[in-house]
Symmetry: C2
Subunit: 523 residues, 2 copies
């Protein structure tokens, strides 16, 4: 199996995504995760461009990685300045890395419009920068910025720029589709031309590819480049990046390794891909894309009734790969389109054994349809689903009942805000009337509820909310729209999710929080 070298740029190009902002600590955590995944190159940022990247590279000097080299990124030297006297390049050297990535203009238009210098000076800037880093014993990756636009507009100049980097000693030259507009066939033709050019000129340099997703073909563009001969692939976790994002490593890695038989990372590392994807979205505080190829929560979800019975007999019928090979899993989805077969599967997972003709199963299906028409969705709220099933089977234990709720939120003249909640909770014969403060009405309500229950159920002391998600349904009606709240609770051992829907956000939250506690107590 031939090797492909992965080059992750989540921390640099990925962080350009609108709405994404990583702290130094975030960057370090992600770098360690990428090291565990076995990524050989991690582009860490641009020392000198901002204080965050300076600190990141400083912190790296006391950090050891097992599989990864962290690489700084920088432009070629400024025009009309010696490389050895360019303050920017000296800051890159100060990061003390083995590898350095530097990018240069390969499109004549950009030399004129963006650098505003001459074509000759730009070639000298490329050559000097690479040579300078080489004399300092660094290994160099040269990013050919705007390669494809440049190649199609002025191939002679583009090739001259690439040649300058290669002759100056760059180990890799990476062909970048900076504007992201190329289609796979255009990539293929240009990469083949470069491959032939390097052979004819005797240039001993390896080729890489760096694509963006502006035509929604970044992954396929990278695959076409590999087929045409490149051996380094740039990309980001979850395809994060400017505009429409970079090539998504979470799709590229399994495509190359499972379907095209290249060697990238060890199978046990590949089996952590879903975890890495979710970790990075958590750290970046971005909602994961449930519909992402390979790693999305829906990637191996089965909804239709016929699907479900066939996939259980033979997974190959409806699954393109074994979900576990990328750390994902098959999911049978509960929904009004589901039909009997899915509900039965779900019930079996919960430990119930029903015949498909049992009237209880019909009652459950009917109840799901009713609640879904009100905006409930049990796909992500399995604990609420389980309570609903127990309700329909008349085995739900009434552990407590909330008989009254009052929340208030007040601002004070000094600018402070206070939220409090009072609850009336009945446990058996006893009525608990308690009050608590919180950071907002929902945390106050959660605190008051647990205060009311802890006497009878000491285990609530070990339970807490870990996530709280709000979604406005029919949001075009403004604040009188219905609100769907998902609450994730934990008791330190496990996690479970409950749901509440109401026109009133407090009531919706109250239902989800109450069910979360009830489910935890019944575990």
């Amino acid at each position: 199996m031939e090797r492909i070298y992965l080059y992750d740029t989540t921390l640099r190009d990925g962080a350009q995504r609108e709405g994404m902002s990583l702290s130094v600590e975030d960057k370090l955590r992600i770098a360690h995760k990428l090291d565990e995944l076995g990524v050989p190159f991690i582009e860490g940022g641009w020392p000198g461009a901002n204080p965050k990247d300076d600190q990141f590279f400083e912190r790296l000097q006391s950090t050891r990685f097992k599989h990864s080299a962290v690489v700084p990124f920088c432009s070629t030297r400024r025009a009309k300045v010696r490389a050895s006297e360019d303050a920017g390049l000296l800051k890159i050297l100060a990061a003390k890395t083995e590898w350095i990535t530097t990018f240069g203009k390969c499109w004549d238009l950009h030399v004129h419009e963006s650098l505003r210098t001459s074509l000759e000076e730009n070639l000298a800037m490329i050559e000097d920068t690479v040579s300078f880093f080489r004399t300092q014993d660094r290994r160099v990756i040269f990013d050919c910025e705007h390669w494809f636009d440049g190649y199609y507009k002025n191939p002679e100049y583009a090739l001259a720029a690439l040649r300058a980097a290669a002759l100056a000693g760059a180990q890799w030259v990476v062909l970048c589709d900076t504007n992201g507009g190329m289609l796979p066939q255009q990539i293929r033709v240009s990469v083949e031309a470069v491959r032939d050019y390097c052979r004819d000129q005797g240039l001993e340099v390896h080729l890489g590819i760096h694509t963006h997703n502006d035509s929604e073909t970044a992954v396929a563009n990278s695959l076409a480049a590999v087929e045409a001969g490149v051996r380094m692939v740039h990309g980001t976790i979850n395809g994060y990046g400017e505009r429409c994002g970079n090539a998504n490593l979470c799709a590229l890695i399994p495509n190359l390794q499972l379907k095209m038989d290249y060697a990238l990372i060890a199978p046990e590392q590949l089996a952590r891909l879903t975890e890495v994807s979710h970790f990075v979205s958590e750290v970046a505080n971005l909602a994961p894309n449930d519909h992402a190829a390979y790693v999305g929560a829906s990637a191996f979800a089965h909804k239709g009734g016929i699907h479900v019975s066939a996939v259980q007999r033979n997974p190959q019928t409806y699954e393109h790969i074994v979900p576990e090979s990328v750390g994902n899993r098959r999911r049978i989805v509960i929904s009004d389109q589901a039909g009997l077969s899915n509900v039965l599967t779900k019930l079996t997972e919960m430990g119930f054994n029903f015949d498909r003709h049992d009237p209880a199963v019909g009652r459950i299906l009917q109840q799901i349809k009713l609640l879904e028409s009100e905006g409930y969705q049990f796909e992500a709220a399995e604990a609420s689903f389980e309570l609903l099933v127990r309700e329909c089977l008349e085995i739900r234990q009434p552990l407590f009942s909330l008989e009254g709720l009052y929340t208030a939120c007040q601002t004070f003249p000094d600018g402070s805000v206070r939220s409090e909640a009072t609850v009336r909770v009945r446990v058996g014969e006893a009525l608990q009337h308690t009050a608590a403060d919180g950071n907002g009405p929902v945390s106050a309500l959660d605190a008051a509820l647990r205060k009311a229950l802890v006497g009878c159920y000491p285990q609530v002391a070990g339970m807490h909310l870990v996530d709280y998600k709000v979604r406005i349904l029919d949001s075009a009606c403004g604040t009188s729209a219905r609100t769907r709240v998902l609450v994730e609770s934990s008791d330190g051992l496990g996690r479970w999710t409950t749901i509440g829907v109401s026109a009133n956000i407090i009531e919706a939250s109250c239902r989800a929080v109450t069910e979360g506690i009830e489910y935890g107590l019944s575990r």
Copy 2:
């Protein structure tokens, strides 16, 4: 320019997406929008499979479309039943459409595992079904289900199934990658083989392609099929669909039309693509993907300082197409990575003219960075940004000030919930102390505020909230996480968005609502 026929399946395959549910009314609205876009084929659903699809096709009989044929979708006849006696097929005829799409198994594994019938019977089912529809004067599109898996496992059988449909009179045979696992090269090889087979066998049938995104290459797979000779392309708006979705028409259409020079829809229809994308996500009540190719809000967003100055001199430097050709637009983004050049552009858009060295510009930048570190994001809240600028320039007019806020939410023994808010608002010398009810604390607050202001500012009577979005930041801390609220307001003439961030959702909402009213009054 050669023609490619678009076939939209948003209403059928698209609606299989987890979390998506369309009413009959929703489906009709989307069908009309697709007609305006100029899509020749709209797959509407499966009459007989569920009451919703029955109603949809009933309603269609009194509906006229200008560009589109709405097509029902169904499986081939059941095993061991005459087509003319198959109740399912009779329901399809009852929809009275010119075209019918029927799908049949082309992978021997599925004949055994899913249909559980013989290979010969499956071929007969295909032939009978297509013939039956043809004798009823319908034109037939035959979907070769699991084409590619079938072709690579047992090409003879796959080709026999395709041949049965073609000889029975199908006008189109569509090669489906039902499990979505194929890569572009595999698609290309198989389509070329089919093309040659049809030519050698003298089959007069047109070829189509239907792909799914499980390898994140659905768009590129469709392009490869077009290059190999297909002339009908299936897909969905925004790529909605089961698991990882279907091929995304919002990327396929511009790729084929703007970059590969095929004729699909008129240029003025193409210029409505962004609108159609947003319309469908609104109707489906799914958040639009800001990072979508061509139609996403970030697709032509520029953040970095150098980018911004170059793209303003020559758009070609950083844009792969003219954004307006697909109805999108260039956006200059405000963010801590923005730098001076972006803020200056934004100020110019707002009608201010500042020199880049003006200390006011520095103050604005600093204030943005401070607020962004607290969780504010002005990218989507331009009205709040404008108020911030006025604040920094000391020209923000204090129209009113909120001196006190109290919200309460209470449940009653009959199960009802009441939310009310009281506000103390100072306008000049006068203090208004008002109260109002609402569907939840935020709508109560909005109502109380407007009640307090309407005496002094009668125009608030014409203003209302149109959208309310909540995002939990650092949501891993549960309900004590910070909450970011975006509020969209309207006065019937325009819309504007404001933002509030706080640990307390009520306080965050209050800031956004208050700024929304202030901005509306200052317009």
